[in-house]
């Protein structure tokens, strides 16, 4: 029952993992567009392939965040409520606190990922 992994009870990684996914999505989108426009784009500067890649990246990132949120609920008992004070002095409560924080950060990261996809919707050339 107690297998030690990165996402095991008592690990802090899940808390920042969602924002890590956002960061990866952000950097990969930015690099894809910047490298494409600097090195690969043809005369018209079409961004077709970059936009396709960003669409795929966005779906992947959202899926990963959803998985993480599910994990936060199941493994940590995290709940997306506002009133949860989580002030009890126990290891279980601390775990619920981390689960709760993870869940909230999943929500924020999902929004941030969606924000980062907007430019790919609006722009179609390297201009």
């Amino acid at each position: 029952m107690k297998q030690k992994t990165l996402f095991e009870e008592g690990s802090l990684w899940p808390v920042i993992a969602a924002l890590g996914i956002w960061a990866a999505h952000f950097l990969l989108s930015y690099w894809a567009a910047a490298l494409w426009c600097a090195k690969a784009a043809d005369g018209s500067g079409s961004l077709f392939w970059v936009r396709l890649a960003i669409a795929v990246l966005t779906l992947l990132a959202l899926a990963a965040i959803a998985w993480l949120a599910r994990h936060a609920v199941r493994r940590y008992g995290g709940r997306l409520t506002f009133e949860d004070d989580l002030t009890e002095d126990s290891a279980a409560e601390r775990a619920r606190f981390l689960g709760h924080a993870t869940l909230l950060l999943c929500a924020l990261s999902a929004v941030a990922v969606l924000f980062d996809a907007v430019p790919a919707v609006v722009f179609s050339t390297c201009r």
């Binding site: 802090l12 002095d89 290891a91 409560e93 606190f97 790919a120 722009f123």
Partner: protein, 856 residues
């Protein structure tokens, strides 16, 4: 729904250890603690390392620089009060605005966070001190020396004059800028080192020095913010240090990183600077918001509404703030879609900021707010900051920013965010915590006057600047003609600036007025919930009478009798039997005590090391290379002396009774020791600087058709392979030594460490040889320069690693490192893990990457 309520409270609060019932014993304990934690007096005063002494120096120095930079601003406002004014010369004005920005950001905003945190953190954690008191003192002295050097340059007409973000090629051409740019680059690099040192200390402090029972869910919000901000410093400052290195190499040795005629590109600096520069804004903002987060529950008399939501917001802001850097570069002509990503992140960061502000408002709503000067400053700060945030989401749009950028609209925006988001909350904190440090309250009447003067003065100064910007006034102009409609607005702004100054002067007056006849403040005068207020009045220098058990977010409200029990020494470490400064180390998640850590006392060694390091940077500024080298060697010697005599001392016994029947070890190695974590965190920061250099390599690759160009030399692959093999061998040997040594193989440490040092140095030499033999000339082209800077970085780090290995060997010979007490070896092994990674990356860039580019 939840797991079984598995572990209940870990620390039974009752029964108390009866032995503490004896007042005579308690008196004797207090005598011993007092003697151990006594601050040096007389001519030894400046050898102090206690966090409350260093913290106060730090705060006073930072506010001193704040006042100095403020006076520079007043001079500028006098100059701008009238069109075509000649109160200041063009050259002096350019120095003043550069120094104003530089000092406010580097000598006030970041250091004041560190200063306040060094002062407060141990007390918030019920700890006696920070885990590395001498490191705080060293950081302080670096800051004071470097800051004085940079600030003093203005008196010699030698101050930097290219703006606080120092864009090359204006700054990379020595004939355009003179010595000022060198002073900026070297003086501030020196201070950035101090900032990173403080960040390391604060992270370790929050993670490993919490009082028993303070699990992560019970940790005060201020500590969360410290953790988040210190983490940000770790990733934000190193890219700037990398940038400083590149720019100074170009200035001093003509390595063409920013020279377009030899393949360089000035935009690289902007990336490196703003990867630092935007997180920096949040690095200075979040700690001040943390102050508000500490005040609000106190004065609203209720726990913070949405505690976990604030934690989430702080962490979220920290991450998102690294995705905004190019919003300072909207006008550089990057592709639209790239700007779009940065615009998106810049807008998204408003969300967690909004959550924080609304949690504060909700708390005020739930509670019955007790009016006070700190709350006045806090709420005034929020009112200003929200306005700055609203203009912030405007200028986050590239299309809009193309008009607003570099105009007075931006000047208004940034002062709204920084004065509302940083200065006002800090002054709130000053009024709030002043009695905590000095046992005297500040005057409420003067405080109210000061607030209203500053608040009104602020709005009179900066609100019109939005309009001045709208009318087209660019920032950083020393004069302007009359016919553009800017004169009245500027005159109003100038008048307002003096009102702000008057308000601040009142605060200074209040702080320094003699308070001998004023009665002592009552204990916990605001009725705060925080454990820092448990200290007796008048205070003692021991930090905490004993290390309490904390089982609540608001211990002084919710834990009955806590203060009395602390006073009676009924918790951990109530005594200093061995006459040593001791503190408790605990685990990260649940703060279970794991070790009693001994910390060293007063010393001048840290001051010596900081002075030598400062001299090294200062001589470097003036290109006095022999003296620079001499001081560098002296710095290394002083640091070794300090470490040798102050860290990883073998205790006289393996463990001791920490109180309440708990026996804890006195020594720890590896991941259980605070030193290992400090090394780990430092190396994360160091590695981010290396990543900055790697970024530079790839950046140049995107800027060239072929990088390296077909005619460029290719580093000799055989020598590179040799170098990599030697460094990896040194790393593997280090790993082996640590294991064999732990198993009793003392000879491994004594002979193996020097051997590993030789292997490493030989490896670095082979890397250099690979470039040398291929004829790479760092002044020829940016490709050659980039290769050389990577090798330079590797060589410098391997050299430091070699010194560490020799230090371990010497420790073993001297008997200060044994198989049981081997913390040094663990730390050096950790360092070499990073060396292996650095060598692998360097090899990939220098040896493998050119293969993909084709060519000879």
């Amino acid at each position: 729904m939840t797991d079984a309520p598995a572990s209940g409270p870990m620390h039974p609060v009752l029964p108390h250890p009866d032995c503490q019932d004896d007042p005579a014993l308690r008196e004797a304990q207090e005598q011993r603690l007092r003697a151990v934690w006594k601050k040096p007096t007389g001519w030894r005063y400046f050898s102090a390392v206690n966090n409350d002494t260093v913290g106060v120096w730090y705060i006073l120095t930072a506010f001193g620089f704040f006042a100095f930079a403020g006076i520079l601003a007043l001079l500028m406002r006098v100059q701008l009060a009238l069109p075509d004014n000649d109160f200041l010369s063009m050259s002096l004005y350019n120095q003043l605005f550069t120094m104003h920005g530089t000092m406010m950001m580097f000598l006030f905003a970041v250091p004041i966070f560190e200063a306040v945190s060094i002062l407060l953190l141990p007390e918030l954690l019920g700890a006696r001190d920070l885990p590395f008191p001498r490191l705080s003192a060293f950081g302080y002295w670096c800051f004071a020396i470097g800051g004085t050097f940079v600030a003093g340059s203005v008196f010699f007409d030698a101050a930097p004059s290219s703006g606080w973000f120092m864009y090359p090629p204006l700054t990379s051409e020595p004939h355009l800028t003179g010595i000022g740019a060198d002073i900026w680059l070297l003086g501030l690099s020196f201070i950035e080192v101090a900032s990173i040192a403080a960040a390391v200390e604060l992270i370790v402090g929050v993670l490993k020095c919490r009082p028993p029972g303070m699990r992560l869910n019970l940790m005060p919000l201020y500590c969360w913010y410290i953790l988040v901000v210190a983490g940000m410093i770790l990733f934000a400052f190193p890219p700037l240090i990398a940038g400083d290195l590149l720019l100074e190499m170009e200035r001093a040795f003509d390595w063409p990183f920013f020279d377009t005629t030899r393949g360089g590109d000035p935009i690289l600096w902007q990336h490196l600077f703003w990867i630092f520069g935007h997180p920096e804004v949040y690095i200075v903002f979040l700690p001040s918001i943390a102050i508000i987060a500490s005040l609000v529950p106190t004065f609203a008399r209720v726990p913070m509404v949405g505690h976990s939501w604030i934690v989430l917001s702080a962490v979220g802001t920290a991450f998102l703030s690294f995705g905004l850097w190019a919003h300072h570069m909207y006008a550089t002509g990057l592709p639209n879609i790239s700007l779009g990503f940065f615009s998106a992140a810049s807008e998204a960061v408003a969300i967690p900021t909004g959550v924080q502000i609304f949690c504060f408002i909700a708390t005020l709503l739930v509670g019955k707010v007790k009016r006070s000067v700190p709350m006045l400053f806090a709420m005034g700060g929020i009112a200003i900051f929200v306005a700055g945030g609203l203009t912030g989401v405007m200028v986050a749009l590239p299309g809009f920013d193309w008009q607003a950028h570099d105009s007075y609209f931006i000047v208004a925006h940034l002062h709204f965010t920084l004065i509302g988001g940083v200065v006002f909350p800090l002054l709130a904190g000053l009024y709030y915590w002043f009695p905590f440090q000095t046992d005297k309250l500040l005057s409420e009447r003067l405080g109210r006057w000061a607030f209203w003067l500053m608040f009104v003065g602020f709005n009179v100064t900066f609100l019109p600047m939005h309009l001045t910007g709208l009318l087209g006034m660019p920032r950083r102009v020393w004069t302007y003609p009359a016919e553009l409609g800017w004169d009245t607005l500027n005159l109003v702004s100038s008048a307002g600036a003096f009102v702000i100054a008057a308000g601040f002067a009142l605060i200074v007056l209040d702080v320094f007025r003699p308070k001998g006849r004023q009665p002592l403040a009552p204990r916990n005068p605001w009725g705060s919930p925080g454990i820092e207020w448990s200290a007796a009045v008048p205070g003692e220098s021991w930090g905490a009478r004993c290390v309490p058990i904390v089982t609540s977010r608001y211990p002084l409200w919710e834990q009955k009798d806590l203060v009395r029990e602390i006073d009676e020494g009924r918790f951990y470490l109530p005594d200093a039997e061995e006459g040593q400064r001791e503190m408790l180390v605990s685990d990260i998640l649940d703060a279970e005590p794991t070790q009693v850590q001994r910390v060293p006392g007063p010393t001048y060694k840290t001051l010596l090391a900081a002075a030598l390091l400062g001299a090294c940077f200062i001589f470097g500024t003036y290109k006095l290379w022999w003296l620079t080298g001499l001081c560098a060697a002296g710095t290394v010697a002083a640091i070794i002396w300090w470490l040798w005599t102050g860290t990883s001392q073998i205790p006289e016994k393996p463990e001791k009774a920490a109180g309440r029947g708990l026996t804890l070890p006195l020594y720890a190695s590896g991941t259980r020791s605070v030193g290992w974590w400090a090394m780990f965190i430092t190396m994360i920061g160091d590695f981010s600087a290396f990543v900055g250099l790697v970024f530079a390599y790839f950046f140049f690759w995107t800027r060239h058709e072929a990088f390296p160009a077909a005619d460029a030399g290719r580093p000799d692959l055989r020598l590179l392979v040799t170098g990599l093999a030697l460094i990896l061998a040194a790393w593997a040997l280090m790993e082996l030594i640590r294991r064999r040594h732990a198993a009793g193989g003392i000879a491994w440490a004594r002979w193996g460490c020097p051997l590993a040092a030789l292997l490493g140095l030989a490896g670095a030499a082979a890397f250099a040889g690979a470039l040398w033999s291929a004829g790479l000339e760092p002044t020829r082209h940016v490709y050659d320069a980039t290769c050389w800077v990577l090798v330079l970085w590797l060589g410098a780090h391997v050299s430091v690693g070699a010194i560490m290995q020799l230090y371990c060997a010497a420790g073993s010979w001297a008997g200060r490192m044994t198989p049981r007490y081997d913390a040094d070896l663990h730390n050096v092994e950790l360092y070499w893990n990073f060396m292996a990674a650095t060598a692998l990356c360097s090899f990939a860039l220098l040896g493998l990457f050119p293969l993909t580019a084709g060519g000879p």
